[in-house]
């Protein structure tokens, strides 16, 4: 039982821990591994494959939306189903697994742990994710999913989706427990690296919000299976939809902030001052993304509204928390931007691809926050339109861009390789163009009031996208083109990873190719079994930078730069 297993670093002397494991065949060593690096790599591999699939599906949906009459791949009923697969798949089959996979590899290294907490649970979480994803996709193949025509397949979709959420929750639980319980001596919580901190915030938020979704799914399942008093096939999707919209969608971007916060000081070659303030800003951003309070309003507005003939958005968009959080979330982003600007001002930035991805990711996220602030201003009447879709696109692709930056930055730890730098910069350009067109198109279509068809369909049934103005059609076309460019960019990320894995190295990559600040750079690339030879004594938030500067005491030459800042 994983929950009660013995923590390896606690009971075994250091010399035993670093002894090489007994030889096993390569397939078993991957498939049966509880090693956090192996499990994390598996997560990343399948999430990247599904990123390609999800972007292709959403692009086809986008093109169909431009001209429903002339380009009809799915048919009206299927269009609704595929739209829901596209939206949920991008978040729960791609983005969350990408974040969890990256964190599973990096977080234990950053906090100086020899293993992740509950390694067998981490492994079970990956296999659960894989099986659940296959089941969710399969249910669409047999006319299931929200709005499906096969009731049994719809029921199976509900169960599969709940299984998927539970698996992802289990993975995030392992990461959160690692940050809380597996830190080395001296690494107090205020010295935790910012990516690990962001994962602690994110994991806690997911544990606070996704169980609410599980509860709703259970209720929907029981009702759909037995009573059918509340939820018809079309009314299921709104119960999920709050996860994909403001404010809950912001929980996905919290790790993006952590990734940027770790890359900027290292690539900027400067110490990050005000570490505590940066931690506070990340936590505040996460708090403003707590969206579980929206579930009741979504269900009231769309599922059981007394005005059943049309969607009644008033209970949804009149909530002061929704409005306040949509505006307040800009504050922590500005604080973080100030912190990074200060760091770069004092440093000599390297224009490495990871750094450029980090900057690009935060710029796109800032756009998302600005779009979100406009969204909640009621007189603008943007809520319920495709403006919401565009705003969510910005959050999602800001996070994807930051994650790809993280892959460039931590590639030595992930695979003992470096990704192609120049190639990566070219791909970043595609990401920015694609995101701009996709999100910009959806935002622009929302201004004249094009409704979010998927949600309206939940109440009224889907009647196709017809009768839109030329302006909206052009905007929809731009969004579809942006989606196609993002397919290409995602494909090229995979190409870059594959190409780098075939490059032969004359000698092993250095453990710390970037002059890193945090503990993951204090071990080999890739790390050996057990991660570290010995447990380090940590005395600041940037222990390796301290060690390089020969500044074991607080009174070194750079002390004003804040060894103990924050």
């Amino acid at each position: 039982m994983a929950l009660t297993e013995t923590q390896p670093e606690a009971t075994a002397p250091a010399a035993e821990v670093v002894a090489p494991p007994p030889a096993v065949d390569p397939v078993s060593s991957v498939l049966a591994s509880g090693d956090h690096k192996t499990v994390g790599r598996l997560y990343l591999t399948f999430a990247l494959v599904l990123l390609l699939v999800a972007t292709v599906v959403s692009t086809v949906v986008g093109f169909e939306r431009v001209d429903q009459g002339g380009f009809d791949v799915f048919g009206r009923d299927t269009y609704f189903q595929i739209s829901t697969l596209s939206a949920t798949g991008m978040v729960f089959m791609v983005l969350m697994p990408l974040l969890i996979g990256l964190a599973m590899v990096v977080v234990p290294l950053q906090v100086g742990a020899r293993s992740i907490a509950f390694p067998r649970a981490a492994s079970a979480s990956f296999w659960g994710y894989l099986v659940a994803t296959a089941m969710v996709i399969a249910t669409y193949g047999i006319n299931g999913g929200p709005g499906g025509g096969n009731d049994d397949a719809v029921d199976l979709w509900i169960l599969s989706f709940a299984f998927l959420l539970a698996s992802l929750l289990l993975g995030s639980l392992c990461i959160v427990a690692t940050v809380v319980a597996n830190r080395p001596p001296g690494m107090t919580l205020d010295r935790v690296p910012l990516f690990s901190w962001s994962m602690l915030v994110t994991g806690t938020l997911w544990l606070l919000t996704l169980p609410v979704m599980l509860a709703v799914l259970l209720l929907v399942y029981i009702d759909h299976l037995y009573g059918r008093t509340l939820f018809g096939n079309f009314q299921i999707y709104p119960t999920v939809h709050w996860l994909l919209r403001t404010p809950q969608i912001y929980t996905l971007a919290v790790p993006a902030l952590g990734i940027v916060a770790d890359i900027v000081p290292v690539m900027g070659r400067s110490r990050q001052r005000h570490h505590g303030l940066m931690m506070g800003a990340i936590a505040f951003f996460g708090l403003m993304g707590f969206g579980a309070f929206m579930v009741g309003a979504w269900m009231s507005a769309v599922v059981i509204s007394p005005a059943a003939a049309s969607v009644d958005f008033d209970p949804l968009y009149d909530q002061w928390m929704w409005i306040g959080m949509g505006i307040a979330i800009g504050l922590p982003v500005l604080i973080l931007l100030g912190g990074w600007a200060d760091t770069l001002r004092r440093g000599r930035p390297r224009l490495h691809s990871s750094f450029l991805y980090a900057i690009a990711g935060i710029v796109v996220l800032l756009s998302a926050v600005a779009a979100g602030a406009l969204l909640v201003i009621k007189p603008l009447e943007l809520a319920g339109t495709t403006w919401e879709v565009g705003q969510a696109d910005l959050v999602i692709w800001a996070t994807v861009i930051a994650v790809v930056g993280g892959l460039h930055y931590w590639a030595p730890k992930l695979a003992g390789r470096q990704l192609g730098d120049g190639f990566g910069k070219g791909v970043l350009l595609l990401f920015l163009i694609g995101t701009g067109l996709l999100a910009g198109g959806n935002l622009a279509a929302g201004v004249p009031g094009e409704v979010d068809h998927v949600i309206v369909a939940s109440s009224e049934g889907f009647n196709g996208v017809v009768g839109v103005s030329d302006t909206v059609e052009v905007a929809n076309g731009a969004a579809a083109l942006g989606g196609a460019i993002l397919v290409l960019a995602s494909f090229l990320v995979v190409v870059n990873i594959l190409a780098s894995s075939f490059v032969s190295l004359d000698e092993p990559l250095a453990g710390d190719p970037w002059d890193g600040h945090t503990l993951e750079w204090a071990t080999a690339s890739p790390p050996a079994h057990g991660n570290f030879d010995e447990v380090a004594l940590v005395t600041s938030a940037a222990p390796l930078l301290d060690a390089r500067e020969g500044d074991d005491d607080a009174g070194g030459a750079d002390a004003p730069d804040g060894k103990e800042e924050g």
């Binding site: 929950l3 606690a10 609410v212 509860a215 029981i222 050996a528 570290f532 380090a536 074991d552």
Partner: protein
């Protein structure tokens, strides 16, 4: 390992972290939010129905005696699980075994009482959404209580095998935390569904 691995001073081996109890605490947070979602939806639906002048439990009765007995049963289980905890801390193993056994027995008694209550209610699942909500909440609670009993049973068997000591009883603490949380959740269900109706 690279050179940088040796520039940091080594630390003494860390004390055994409270991994299991910390993990259980996070699982408990998730469990609480799960029931917060269910009960919140139940209460909001009831408020809507009553605001419209309707009768919430129209046409059927929920007898109050069994829910009271169930609450009392779980309240007594709090005493026995605390007894088990202090017995472990004081290395009084016979008392620990007895208290853990009694706690599990209270759990079984609760399940039995819930089954009896279902038979008294005679509520058809397919007829009203009140029935869907009540069966979903109470059924999910039975599942969670079962998980808590399984967790406690595993720690009980581990204790019987000689594990846990006054100094090291992290796994058992996890089971105790989860039991407390599960009982607290029932207190909310008891008030929300049975007392305030």
């Amino acid at each position: 390992m690279t050179d940088t691995a040796h520039v940091l001073p080594p630390a003494a081996p860390p004390a055994r972290p409270r991994m299991v109890s910390i993990g259980t605490a996070f699982v408990s947070i998730g469990t609480v939010m799960f029931f917060a979602g269910l009960i919140g939806f139940y209460l909001s639906q009831r408020a809507v129905e009553q605001a419209a002048g309707g009768e919430w439990l129209d046409g059927f009765e929920i007898p109050l005696t069994p829910p009271h007995v169930m609450m009392l049963t779980l309240a007594m289980s709090l005493v026995t699980i605390s007894w088990a905890y202090y017995a472990i801390v004081n290395d009084d193993r016979p008392n620990a075994y007895l208290a853990m056994g009694l706690t599990l027995l209270f759990g079984v008694a609760f399940i039995n009482a819930q089954a009896y209550l279902y038979s008294l209610m005679g509520l058809a699942l397919r007829e009203t959404f009140q029935a869907v909500l009540i069966y979903t909440i109470t059924g999910a609670y039975l599942a969670v209580l079962g998980a808590a009993m399984l967790y406690l049973a595993i720690t009980a068997f581990r204790a019987l095998a000689g594990q846990y000591s006054p100094q090291q009883h992290d796994g058992f603490v996890g089971a105790v935390i989860y039991w407390y949380v599960v009982v607290a959740i029932y207190a909310v269900i008891w008030i929300a569904i049975y007392i305030t109706k």
